[in-house]
């Protein structure tokens, strides 16, 4: 890995979103990756996976857990995410959701990062609320359900289907 390797910010709230993000880990082998999630306890796991894959030790930041109804917590999470983006200066932001991923994607896009939104496999009938809002700002917008994908060529934006995390 060199200093020219891409800097990747990989973001997900705890629970199912985080588990799905971790299943994408091979995608950023060889990159400088920093994880952002809502629980300090997942750090050991991603460090162990990186070591097992012969990768550099990843960065790790925690933001406060907030859902769309907890306005004050959302403001705090947003502030924390601004600070993390300024510190890390990623080339690429990748997220599976939910609220922290939405903030990271929108802020990252404003800062000139390219962005990936991978909508959770939990959303089999319609895209997640955050996904519907964030997806159109993403450089790569992915769904894990083929019937939710738009045909390539409509406007080219997606969401596209390339497979699932399972």
């Amino acid at each position: 890995m060199s200093d020219k390797s891409p800097r990747v910010l990989a973001v997900a709230s705890g629970g199912g979103h985080w588990i799905q993000l971790c299943r994408m880990i091979p995608a950023w082998d060889g990159c400088h990756v920093t994880y952002v999630t809502t629980d300090p306890g997942f750090r050991t796991e991603v460090e162990a996976i990186a070591a097992a894959r012969g990768q550099q030790r990843p960065g790790y930041h925690v933001v406060i857990e907030a859902n769309r109804l907890q306005k004050m917590k959302l403001v705090r999470a947003l502030t924390q995410m601004v600070w993390i983006l300024l510190r890390v200066r990623p080339d690429v932001v990748i997220t599976t959701g939910a609220a922290p991923g939405y903030f990271a994607l929108r802020l990252g896009a404003m800062m000139g990062c390219r962005t990936v939104w991978l909508d959770s496999i939990a959303n089999a009938e319609e895209l997640s609320m955050a996904g519907q809002k964030a997806g159109k700002h993403a450089g790569l917008w992915l769904t894990q359900w083929e019937h939710l994908a738009t045909q390539d060529g409509a406007d080219g934006k997606g969401p596209h289907y390339k497979g699932t995390v399972i």
């Binding site: 020219k4 390797s5 891409p6 990747v8 705890g14 629970g15 199912g16 979103h17 985080w18 588990i19 799905q20 299943r23 994408m24 880990i25 091979p26 995608a27 950023w28 082998d29 990159c31 629980d39 306890g41 997942f42 050991t44 796991e45 859902n67 080339d91 690429v92 990748i94 390219r114 990936v116 991978l118 959770s120 496999i121 939990a122 959303n123 089999a124 009938e125 319609e126 609320m129 450089g139 790569l140 992915l142 894990q144 596209h160 390339k162 497979g163 699932t164 995390v165 399972i166």
Partner: protein
Amino acid sequence: MIFLTVGSHEPFDRLVRCVDDWCGASGHGADVFGQITKRAEYSPRHFETVPTLGPAEYDKRFDQAEIIVSHAGMGSIITALSKQKPIVMLPRRGHLHETRNDHQFATMQRFRSWPGILAAEDEAELPGLLDQVADGGMATSQKISPFADDQLVAAVRNFIYDTAQTR
């Protein structure tokens, strides 16, 4: 050992109560351990619970269990499949305000045919399924790869490296 988990965020009293009633009727309470969230209002009489578990402790409970009982959350489903644990699930429902919409019901419908997954549409169906798995009448789940589809990983990887070249 049966590990009941309702996810880390929202309580799911309907599932916890149903498992408790089943334990009372079947005498399996001593075999069940539940993680039921901080805001759970129903407190089971027949089995031991904790509100939350840290990642390491959660992993340990999952590994020790022979059967997982859970909400239809993707975290629980993916973890059960990757550890090859049979899982019995009850979806949260939108109209009962257990989630924002009915996405867990859709998840349940799409995953119920997988080997190793049993799904109850409502709490009336759950005790029968619990009897079935407690008697050992359930196939183990299929072993899944630790990572996502190669094509999905490649799509994201190509995007990352294209970005690096254009900046």
